[in-house]
Symmetry: C4
Subunit: 250 residues, 4 copies
């Protein structure tokens, strides 16, 4: 999404400049969120300060989105292209959907991972799954922990549930019961289907590549054949010119 | 299915004319069905009128099918090609299978979505899943709600069950117990497998396209090489003609 | 497996002759098995005669295998190629594995369906799933019904369990508890994975075909270009011959 | 991983020499582990000796890794490339992760199976699944058996659980509750997703191959066409030379 866009020079410049600080902020948010969810014995004051800190970082992302909108020269096109971004930035204001703040953070981190490991699809997929799985475990634990009917009540169970969901195994020994937890599950299921798709796609294209490789050799033989032909005709023309000269002279 | 068919001009003309009103009717049916399922505190009179309205719309679809059959010039070929349509139009007469009315409605809507978003496979897939998922949630709730053993008794649970089924996760905290509910589940499972297939297929073909792209450049080089060859030979013929003229003159 | 083999003329002739009666026998076996499993109130004498009938048909298949082995000219090669057939013919002698008789029957039927609907992959896949699913439902019901811990105790539940297994959803509201039932489940899981693979493969190859189609048009343009070239050179040779004749005459 | 590496001659020579004894040791480890897990009525002395034996084999693998590291000429590159190997050799020292010893063993066996059945993907996949499934069943039984909340307490249940997990069906009638058992489950889930990917990839590439086959025939026609062209031009040159000679003589 943040490829430099020749139609939006001001926007591209801004994005190039804010890329690094936003990534740092995303990492801080993730660590803060993990600490808040896992460290349950913190004093109320600490909890309050954490909460303020996390919402402040979210506010920075929201403000950054508004700035980008202001910088964009084609407002309509920008909004249409960033509809999903707008949603995940705006929806966390509803307290029930505050887990969506993680998606903004994950998008920023994912972009950086993608830029760093471009072309090494294995590491990229593993990194994304790890990042998404960790965030989902934290989010589902945060959502479920205080529900009386919940069966996901500690971090170990949350990680285990995340694993059974993303692999589409779904034993059903652990499952979310709150609306927020089920939203996290929906995101993970989409991730699981995409994961299966990427793994299968890579393997299938690898098999196809071996076939295509065999085919390419025929094409390369045609290519060299045609090149030889061209050289032969060039020679033919030279010979004809010489022959024509001799005929003229005779 | 409703591509204009050169062998059936009368049928194609009829289908072009009825396409829009049928889509509108399908939307009305879906909204009415949703209202009937979700608004459980309606008075018996309202419920009766709703029921009559929904069956009336279904009757319109059934009559439209009969008209199409009458217009078809090759009756046998028409019946064979529309066997599935015939089934989903006729089977809802068995009260147990009344949920099948939704499939007729979904086919009409799906055709319109397909025509509108042709080539934008992402939006098309997302739209189809949303439409199918919503219909399945309503249908399963309608089927299960009044069963004493049922565990899908409100719309939230129905949506959650639809999600776990279409992603093939299947926790088993919610599952249908009635025959009608299990038929809805069967349809969703087929949908889930198709969904996995489409997602994987798109990703795999995207990887293969990158390989094919590299291959195409060889082919394009052959193409330009062969074109150059042809130009060179044309020139050779001109030179030979001129040389022949000179020889004749000499 | 039963493609006519030029190295085994006697075997091929035998297989061509026995193909139809064996298919008929397989259908009778399947119907008899279904009747035995579903009609539980039959008198002990009827049950005994059914049992004898089914084992008699199985014996025919076993004898046919022995005859094929006798007819084969290369015994070792035949055994190695039909190892799986040998297993599913021999193993049902262990009473615990009598459900394996169904696999011999399904292989015979599948071959006929494959021959009839070759090239119409949709109907072939649907037919295979229907046949396998029905057999699995009967087999699991037969295996589980008399176990005190079983939760699959009627045909409806057996079909429902088959559906949740072959789609890899696996709610877990119904599951086999006997060894024989779990063997049926293993066969279904392999079927489910293969099903996912075929559906995805067809969709992926369809997407790839569209790409390959675009590529083919380049190749066809090269083909016509090269043909044009050849025609032009043929014309050039004719002209040269004529010119040579004129030169000689002058 | 153990392809002979031209940059590391000493390492390649060592690996070629140790390949067979390590495979034998891996088989012994697997058998010993199976015996330890399944034969629960052994006397404490026997159990102790078994434990010592298994740890001794693991120690051989650890020492072999250190020797390979010593032999490597580019230490950094070696460590980076064998990071995963280092982890699975070092981590079993934590008693909770002793099941990871199986991964080292499975990697050695998998290499040998891969070398033996290269190109026969069906047998290779089946062999790998069998080996991985058996190891996982043993490992999960070892991990779960002594937990009071466990529901996987005999080998039959462990094999059944392995099947439901690797096929991603996941009924949930059996599931691990200990951390070690859940680690085994994680490995199996990754295996299950890879299995789906390979099966789908093979089927998809088979379909694509049929398409590519049709395409290849066009290419082969171009190839023969271009070869014919070249022969024709060679003939043209000969004719021209003769004609030129005649002209010179006249």
């Amino acid at each position: 999404m943040r490829h430099s866009d020749p139609l939006e020079p001001r926007l591209s410049a801004w994005e190039a400049r804010t890329d690094l600080p936003l990534t740092a902020l995303a990492v801080i948010f993730l660590c803060g969120y993990a600490w808040q969810v896992l460290h349950t014995t913190a004093s109320p004051t600490t909890v309050l300060w954490q909460e303020i800190g996390l919402w402040a970082i979210w506010a920075v992302f929201a403000v950054e989105f508004v700035i980008r909108f202001t910088l964009a020269q084609r407002k309509g096109r920008f909004l249409w292209r960033h509809l999903f971004d707008l949603l995940v930035v705006a929806l966390p204001m509803v307290r029930q959907l505050r887990a969506l703040r993680l998606i903004t953070v994950l998008k920023v981190l994912n972009r950086r991972v993608g830029t760093t490991f471009r072309g090494r699809i294995g590491i990229y997929v593993a990194g994304t799954i790890l990042l998404v799985g960790l965030s989902a475990s934290l989010a589902v634990l945060d959502a479920e922990r205080h529900d009386p009917d919940a069966n996901i009540t500690n971090f170990g169970d949350a990680v285990w549930w995340t694993m059974t969901t993303i692999s589409t195994v779904g034993y059903g020994d652990r499952y979310p019961v709150t609306v927020e937890g089920r939203l996290v599950a929906a995101a993970l299921m989409i991730g699981g289907i995409a994961l299966l798709g990427v793994v299968t796609g890579v393997i299938a294209s690898w098999f196809v590549q071996k076939i295509a490789g065999a085919e390419e050799s025929i094409e390369e033989s045609i290519q060299s054949e045609v090149k030889g032909l061209r050289a032969e005709i060039a020679e033919l023309r030279t010979e004809l010119k010489r022959a024509g000269g001799e005929v003229s002279r005779s």
